[in-house]
Symmetry: C2
Subunit: 311 residues, 2 copies
């Protein structure tokens, strides 16, 4: 049976003394893509349009990091430790090479995974996230604090404010997203417990604290990286995506119009196409495949992709 | 006969008292794409990997604006007037709707075309360019002035410094580009005369002059716009592409890694794929084409594209 976002069973694997909950589905070929989730999110907060869209060409792996929802253990108070836990989880699956995607604070974890285990990670996708000491990240943005501090008649409607702009088009996209992310009917993850948000906030505070030459560490992330955000992210300001691109050695940046923290939820099909092109190596060295001004077929490989099998 | 970048004959059309030289080729379908060239460039300075690549799905139109190379008249000392001349040229071809692409100062002209004739322009692509009063544009950047002021054993090698970074990979891409742009053997454009550079510089000075609320005018460019640049453009700083995206009402931004003013010359195949997706309307409203989390076929249209035939 070919599983999808809606049918993939929750499985478990032990590592670092944690019982990690995960789901894997998609084309069992090539390098799997490991998803790292946002603040207080579970596996069910991913967008099936994105996960199933990307799963048509590769295996995708969703998981809950330590202490989150169906995973055991406690949420660490640093992204560094969350990254180490994620590496332990990936290795426990027997994988030798993965691509990692991280959204919001999951993007901080994805950076830490790449730093902790550079040979494990082939490519990185950073969605709606920022660097250490990023602009407006210490203490959260005023807009973000207002959005997270408000109450909503429908709790899910929080995400309309977090992920989308106030425009009619963006809000319509938001309502479509909310429908999609509630479509999985069976074996959903339990909501996170009360300890998750404070621990994740403590990790954000450490990450966001001002420091000398804060972006120097990005030079160590040498993997090809795709940075994506909306034009008007008020949770982690869009400028932070530009800063990531400018300081990572090998990063492509895409910013979408009239969109916010969840631009990939607003433009899932476009994002899947852009991300698929990136993951298949379409950005590199392809000028070699032109002769006499006519494009030839692309190999889909580039020299800095590792050649060894990934498991 | 299907023409290409290398075989398309130079044709002429009169408008505004100017005899405009142009070439058109590609799939004679849909909305044509009109190219606006950089400082002192002619039709021969376009990259056949880009023009022929984009011509597989649409007609492309290259032309020399007034006073440049094989076109008659004088180069105006404002982009506004260059824009008006371009509009006259497009209308003289009998076209009712076009997409416009502008590179460097051609991107300033493309903005002026959209402002002068909003109903004529469906979509806009801005490459390595900036807004009025953009950062470092008044008087040119120190790096740019040094590059344009130096002498080169091979005159074409100027472009290795203007368009590419000093990295080995970027310079190799630059040499491949120089080969491509010399491949058209017959009926090349004459080089521009001595009056072109000073007039274009005067236009840059007016455009770049500091003014109050300089970016407000961008709100009037309501067309879907794709802004593209390299990570390290030292001719028109990369930050200006971010400023364009942030101030245009409906703009997508793509920044490529380890690249400079001519990033589309460095990654021609990737740029053609990104630009083709953009021109076919792939960025808009496609969340409507998802049902039950599975992507459906895209129509390639969006509601704000005009429905009428373009000629």
């Amino acid at each position: 049976m070919i599983h999808t976002h809606h049918t993939a069973p929750t499985q478990f694997v032990e590592a670092n003394g944690i019982r990690f909950a995960y789901r894997r589905f998609g084309k069992p070929d090539g390098v799997p893509l490991v998803f790292n989730q946002h603040f207080t999110g579970t596996m069910d907060h991913w967008d099936p349009a994105v996960t199933d869209g990307l799963a048509t060409e590769r295996e995708v792996i969703l998981f809950n990091n330590a202490g989150v929802s169906s995973s055991s253990g406690e949420v660490p108070t640093s992204f560094e430790q969350m990254g180490r836990n994620a590496v332990a989880f990936i290795k426990a699956l027997g994988l030798q090479q993965v691509d990692v995607l991280g959204f919001s604070i999951g993007g901080c974890v994805a950076q830490e995974i790449a730093l902790a285990a550079p040979n494990l990670v082939r490519r990185v996708i950073l969605l709606g996230t920022g660097p250490r000491s990023g602009e407006g990240m210490a203490g959260g943005t005023p807009e973000g604090n207002q959005i997270f501090g408000a109450t909503y008649e429908e709790p899910d409607h929080l995400w309309l404010s977090v992920f989308f702009t106030p425009s009619q088009a963006s809000q319509a996209a938001g309502r479509a997203f909310l429908k999609r992310f509630r479509l999985r009917a069976k074996y959903r993850d339990p909501e996170v417990n009360d300890k998750v948000a404070p621990a994740q906030r403590a990790a954000i505070a450490k990450w966001a604290a001002p420091r000398e030459r804060p972006y120097d560490y990005l030079k160590a992330i040498q993997q090809p990286t795709l940075v994506v955000n909306g034009s008007n992210d008020v949770i982690i300001y869009t400028m932070n995506s530009f800063i990531l691109q400018q300081n990572l050695p090998n990063a492509q940046l895409i910013i979408y119009p009239d969109s916010a923290h969840g631009s990939h939820h607003q433009y899932p099909e476009l994002f899947v196409r852009h991300a698929s092109m990136f993951l298949s190596g379409a950005e590199g060295r392809e000028y070699l495949s032109f002769e006499n001004g006519r494009p030839l077929a692309t190999s889909g490989n580039r020299e800095n992709d590792h050649a060894q099998p990934h498991r």
